[in-house]
């Protein structure tokens, strides 16, 4: 793309680095900003700078938070003995949206992948162990809610190994056939796995 101005080119390049945004969309956004009042661009820039410099992570669960300890961790309605381990903030939001879970979270910040240079020390695994050791209300169950990828599986395996020293129940979220999905159209891998990890049928 050829730009009439170096300033526009720089802005387009920066914005198109964001996921899901190509050069064309970036140009549209840039031209939109120029059409608006100067103050709206200033507000946007300020919000971004503030976001980066003032963002905090909860000292307990490492989720994004405005305070030292986040709202979930401080909520008296939450079951303190239950911790759900997830990859990142998006997973917390997804599970919160189901309104089915009343325990706490622990955000690892990623999954182990030596090929990409991510080892246990790059994640909040040590912090999870420490948290269990020092918890006021003893932790009874850890739910591993990591994505069913190979990296997710390895991370779950490793965390489970690290939890062996405690007398805690470790569970993992069920994975399998989507509700409303038909068996016939489920891929063999998912179906095979669902059969191997089948659950007890309850009738009440």
């Amino acid at each position: 793309m050829n730009f009439p101005s170096k300033l526009i080119e720089d802005a387009v390049n920066e914005i198109s680095r964001l996921p899901g945004i190509g050069k064309k969309t970036a140009l549209r956004l840039v031209l939109h900003l120029l059409k608006e009042d100067t103050s709206s661009s200033m507000q946007l820039a300020e919000a971004i700078v503030k976001l980066r410099t003032e963002i905090k992570y909860c000292a307990k669960c490492h989720n994004i938070s405005d305070a030292e300890i986040c709202q979930i961790c401080t909520s008296p309605r939450r079951q303190q003995q239950l911790i759900c381990v997830v990859e990142d903030t998006r997973d917390v939001l997804a599970i919160e949206n189901t309104a089915q879970y009343q325990g706490l979270y622990h955000v690892l910040g990623g999954v182990i992948s030596p090929v990409r240079g991510i080892g246990p020390s790059e994640l909040k695994i040590e912090q999870l162990i420490e948290r269990i050791k020092t918890a006021e209300t003893p932790v009874e169950e850890i739910i591993l809610a990591l994505s069913p990828t190979m990296e997710g599986d390895t991370t779950a395996f490793f965390v489970t190994k690290k939890l062996k020293e405690f007398n805690i129940k470790v569970s993992t979220i069920a994975r399998g056939i989507p509700i409303g999905g038909e068996l016939e159209y489920t891929d063999e891998i998912t179906l095979g796995r669902s059969i191997l990890t089948r659950t007890h049928y309850q009738t009440d």
């Binding site: 030596p114 080892g119 190979m150 390895t154 395996f157």
Partner: protein, 368 residues
């Protein structure tokens, strides 16, 4: 099954080309470098989602172009399918069937089986064990999607473990629990892969022996012996003991990724002790066995791609192959030959719809 046609854009030396096929025999003639093998490769791509000759997808895009497409109408059990494979520069390869793109291209493998017999098959005998694993894995992957998935997972964990070994070696520090996490995945998947390969080879051998006996008039005994670290009763212990060595070499030295299939003739390795003719029969017999097994398990005859075989085989073996063609052992066949007169002569005796095509630097013309 058969392909009714193929349409190529910017694939290797083809700028834009459409060809309508015979459901039976298609013969491509033309000078060296004109694009005969490339056309077979396009068919191979549509069936197996990759090139038989160049594993780097982007390099199969025509020089200077920024994408290739391969499209075809296929017929299988009286149903028709529109297949497409699209590769854009710097993007993920896309394979679709009747307009629906697969989430994972590997889901397509095995839907449209195909067998290629090519001059560089001799690598199967001459090169290291990787070539032979690729051959048998290639068959199993077309037969068993779960196996293919396990194999890909194994490869992935292996890469991760090797990366980990490298980091540990550099930092002079070991996180044993993490290594164990990878070990246990490799043990689990390795055992499944080993069992499947072992079971498969047992069913493969008699079919292979039958084809070898048909091709050669000599009475030598041929066989394939499967060897695996995993077969040892104390494999896991031995694997753990080799960790020190793994750390020095920065790669995993034991496991199914080291499996060997030994090709034997009268109990000796054919690589060293087989004559040229015996080696040729051996290779063709391997491919015919592959064809027979795929045809039986898939319930449809695979496409047969024969690259330059008239050049490589002697008259006697060509005659044997033609007997099979005449007996309608195969379905749709694609043959290439640099010498038009020769293939005309050879195929003249066959009662089938044979279409001859002449290829000149990436242009195909019907010349019947």
């Amino acid at each position: 099954m058969h392909l009714e046609n193929i349409s190529l854009t910017h694939f290797k030396n083809y700028a834009s080309q459409e060809v309508a096929f015979s459901p039976q025999i298609n013969c491509f003639v033309g000078p060296n470098g004109s694009g005969k093998t490339n056309l077979l490769d396009a068919i191979y791509y549509l069936c197996l989602t990759k090139s038989a000759f160049n594993a780097v997808d982007m390099q199969n895009i025509q020089h200077e172009a920024d994408f290739f497409t391969i499209r075809s109408s296929a017929v299988k059990a009286d149903k028709s399918y529109k297949l497409a494979c699209i590769q854009e520069q710097g993007k993920k390869k896309q394979v679709s069937n009747n307009g629906k793109a697969y989430d994972r291209v590997s889901e397509h493998i095995g839907e449209f089986p195909c067998v290629l017999i090519a001059p560089d098959d001799t690598q199967l005998i001459k090169e290291g064990s990787e070539e032979r694993r690729k051959f048998f894995d290639g068959i199993l992957s077309q037969l068993d999607r779960v196996y293919l998935d396990q194999l890909m997972q194994y490869g992935h964990y292996l890469k991760q473990r090797n990366a980990l070994l490298k980091q540990f070696a550099e930092r002079q520090y070991i996180e044993q629990d993490l290594l164990d996490s990878y070990n246990s995945q490799l043990f689990r998947l390795g055992r499944l892969i080993y069992e499947r390969r072992r079971e498969f080879i047992l069913s493969f051998i008699p079919i292979f022996e039958k084809h070898y006996a048909m091709l050669s008039d000599d009475k030598e005994q041929v066989g394939v012996r499967y060897e695996s670290d995993v077969a040892a009763a104390d494999f896991e212990q031995a694997f753990r003991q080799s960790q020190r060595k793994d750390l020095i070499l920065k790669r995993t030295t034991m496991g199914v990724h080291k499996d060997e299939f030994v090709f034997e003739i009268d109990g000796f390795p054919i690589k060293k002790f087989g004559s040229q003719g015996q080696q040729k029969s051996f290779l063709i017999a391997l491919k015919l066995a592959q064809f027979e097994i795929l045809a039986a398990e898939k319930g449809t005859k695979p496409l047969l791609l024969l690259d330059d075989i008239f050049d490589k085989l002697d008259d006697q073996r060509i005659a044997k192959l033609l007997e099979l063609v005449a007996a309608q052992t195969f379905g749709q066949i694609f043959v290439t030959d640099a010498r038009p007169e020769r293939s005309r002569e050879i195929l003249a005796s066959i009662e089938a719809e044979v279409r001859f095509f002449e290829i000149q630097s990436g242009r195909v013309a019907l010349i019947n």
